[in-house]
């Protein structure tokens, strides 16, 4: 791997056929590497072109600022604010569940747990991470949502069977293992000398974690959270099965709300003609989703790289 390729190829150049074969294989390898790049551009352009078609028919400005989304009717309106709001609120609920539990679990795993506990608990969290999202969706729709409705009835509140709360909580559960495993890696990567220094100065374990380990791991933790947010924004099955279809601009988390991904699925499963604005709106929403998750991911990668450079770790 760390050979001087020139020296080797000079040695080989006697045999031209072998050389040509080698080159052919090398180009084949390069070609297959390019496929992954093509995929990204494929996604970007396929979404972009259809979205441009959509914005030829409907106003771009109203799409970003309008508050009425009514695709089916005559004189259809495409104001995506209620959809963005629903997505934001459900993501917020999910992060309120996943962040504290995920990061605190990671702290326990990396700082307190014995190797034995670690080896037992890690596979369990991996199972949690491996559960397909459609299964979480079923759990949210059949178990969690009716439970929330019952609890709310008991205290005299009205909750929808498609409440944002149910899908938010289940989405949070889904994201816990993503955040905890990344945070675990980051926290474990903080050099032990920092912990020992702090403990030697007489700080308790908790104080060491709070004032030394966590600040050092902060960029990594933020990065993990951003990845979690990006997963929540793009999560489809849970919200398709448990959240509402109706764009609903409200702050009440017991009401039904819809999300970007739900609207994408809903407008593409229907029977409308492909070039109708109702169908094309899916690509406009997809474009927004693509751009937002891409930005979150770039920030996240940047923060992790900073962290790696600072502590010179390579296994993240």
């Amino acid at each position: 791997m760390k050979q001087n390729p020139k020296a080797i190829s000079a040695f080989q150049s006697k045999n031209k056929i072998t050389q040509m074969k080698e080159d052919a294989i090398k180009y084949l390898l390069i070609a297959s590497s390019i496929i992954s790049v093509l995929t990204t551009f494929g996604i970007l352009f396929s979404i972009l072109f259809e979205a441009i078609e959509f914005f030829k028919l409907k106003s771009f400005f109203y799409f970003l600022t309008g508050t009425e989304w009514s695709p089916g009717v005559e004189g259809s309106k495409f104001g995506a604010v209620p959809i963005f709001a629903g997505t934001f609120i459900i993501t917020l609920i999910a992060m309120m569940v996943a962040l504290p539990i995920g990061i605190m679990s990671a702290i326990y795993m990396s700082e307190y747990a014995s190797n034995k506990t670690r080896n037992r608990v890690k596979p369990l969290l991996e199972i949690l991470a491996g559960i397909p999202t459609v299964v979480y969706g079923f759990f949210a729709a059949i178990t969690v949502a009716p439970f929330i409705v019952k609890v709310c009835e008991a205290v005299g509140l009205h909750a929808s069977f498609n409440s944002a709360l149910a899908s938010g909580i289940v989405m949070g559960i889904m994201i816990i293992p993503i955040i905890s495993s990344l945070s675990d890696d980051v926290i474990s990567a903080v050099p032990d000398s920092q912990r020992k220094g702090s403990l030697a100065l007489g700080l308790t374990m908790a104080e060491t974690i709070k004032s030394v380990v966590l600040p050092a791991a902060l960029p990594g933790l933020i990065s993990a959270s951003l990845l979690g947010v990006s997963r929540a924004l793009g999560e489809t099955m849970i919200v398709v099965m448990a959240a509402g279809l109706r764009p609903n601009l409200t702050m009440n988390i017991l009401e039904d709300m819809t999300t970007v991904t739900v609207r994408i699925v809903d407008s593409l499963v229907g029977d409308q003609a492909f070039n109708s604005p109702a169908t094309l709106s899916a690509f406009a929403l997809g474009l927004v989703l693509f751009v937002v998750t891409l930005i979150l991911n770039i920030i996240s990668v940047y923060l992790i790289r900073k962290f790696k450079e600072k502590y010179k770790v390579n296994n993240l």
Binding site: S32, I35, I47, I142, A206, M237
Partner: protein, 399 residues
């Protein structure tokens, strides 16, 4: 420091010059912090158990199906209208689909003509739910019929083999997972056939051949990004490019498999690279020392050594692709498929998509079917992952 209570801890005060009364507070805080951390971890694990118990308790009843023993009369009249073959008051209790198949009995065995047979018939889904003690919708008359039959020991719960041998059906007691399972297998075959070679070749290029230049860095950044793109956007890609531009058949395992292949690619690349990196450089040096070309070294020495690691990663990628639903819905793989697909260009559905369709059915009997479908899917996924871990353990080489 703070020594405002001289009577208490007098001993400590005199003996230990470092004594600090705030210590106790700090230690309590430390304990509290540890408790919260442990509690969070336990909560996360508890979620898993609540979830699994919920699925098992909902899904296990579907492993059993109610059968009712009835008399079936075969004659000219009942062949034409199979409903007539059964006593009138029992007609509502027996599955419609079962009654429809009565003429087939005679077709398969002409000797049955003009006889009356005592048979175990599949019960209607509402009767099934009633026997299992779930929520049911039965007329009082039918309920009484069932109660009477039960007293005569003519109602039985048997293993539900239909679930594993039938495709989807609009009649709950006849709905099974088989066509979805076959659809999943066909789709994943396409996925693996495309993403495994491309993924491994990319990994080989990046690890063994590429110089650290702009082009390589771009590919690396791009692979990272690809892994974080929401899965539904891959569905949009599949719809816009594979279906609308290439004109591949909608709802087919071919389109679904290709879409999933692009999603699995980053997982395979990342794990294959890690496996290649784990092969020590001395192996390569030895190869070059013997005069092998770069390709020969990689093909005959590095790749075989990295192979278990690559397989492990691929199986994990496969398991992830198997559970993926959103992009497949976009490319139309949620069609109603009663018969198993036999080629990759036929319309098909996959297990998670089948689960999604059943979850949306109004009949309550589908809830337990959905849960059993989920249990089947989870069993397959967990076995795949266990197999991957086993492979890793078995072939793990410590260099």
């Amino acid at each position: 420091m703070r020594r405002n209570n001289p009577k208490k801890s007098k001993k400590n005060k005199t003996d230990n010059p470092f004594y600090d009364p705030s210590l106790r507070k700090r230690h309590t805080a430390a304990k509290r912090f540890k408790f919260f951390a442990a509690a969070s971890l336990i909560t996360a694990i508890a979620f898993l158990f609540v979830f699994l118990t919920d699925m098992v308790s909902k899904g296990l009843p579907a492993l059993k199906q109610t059968y009712v023993q009835i008399e079936v009369t075969y004659n000219e009249k009942t062949i034409k209208s199979s409903r007539q073959a059964i006593e009138k008051k029992l007609r509502k209790v027996i599955s419609r689909a079962w009654i429809r198949e009565i003429p087939k009995h005679v077709k398969n065995n002409p000797k049955l003509m003009n006889t009356t047979q005592l048979l175990w018939a599949i019960a209607d889904d509402q009767v099934d739910q009633y026997i299992k003690g779930h929520h049911y919708k039965l007329k009082n008359r039918d309920k009484k019929t069932v109660d009477n039959l039960q007293k005569l020991n003519r109602v039985e719960l048997r293993f539900n083999s239909i679930f594993f041998s039938n495709g989807d059906s609009k009649i709950p007691e006849f709905a099974g997972i088989k066509s979805a399972l076959i659809g999943s297998i066909l789709t994943l075959l396409v996925t693996m056939a495309v993403s495994f070679p491309i993924g491994v070749m990319t990994a080989v290029y990046l690890e063994e051949f590429a110089n650290d230049n702009r082009f390589t860095q771009m590919i690396e950044v791009n692979i990272n990004n690809l892994a974080a793109i929401p899965s539904i956007l891959f569905g949009l890609l599949g719809l816009a490019i594979f279906i609308n531009i290439f004109g591949l058949p909608r709802s087919s395992p071919l389109v679904g498999g290709l879409t999933l292949a692009l999603m699995t690619l980053p997982i395979i690349i990342v794990t294959a690279r890690a496996a290649l990196r784990a092969v020590p450089d001395t192996i390569r040096q030895a190869g070059y020392g013997l005069g092998l070309t770069k390709i020969q070294v990689v093909r005959d020495h590095v790749l075989p050594l990295a192979f278990p690691g690559i397989m492990t990663g691929s199986i994990i990628g496969l398991a992830q692709a198997m559970g993926e639903t959103a992009p497949l819905i976009i490319v139309g793989m949620i069609a109603f498929i009663p018969d198993s697909p036999s080629s990759i260009t036929q319309a098909a559905t996959v297990m998670p998509a089948q689960i999604f369709t059943w979850a949306g059915m109004p009949e309550r009997a589908y809830i337990e079917k959905t849960a059993l479908g989920i249990l089947t899917l989870l069993t397959v996924l967990i076995s795949l992952n266990t197999f991957a871990i086993y492979l890793r353990k078995k072939f793990e080489t410590k260099w």
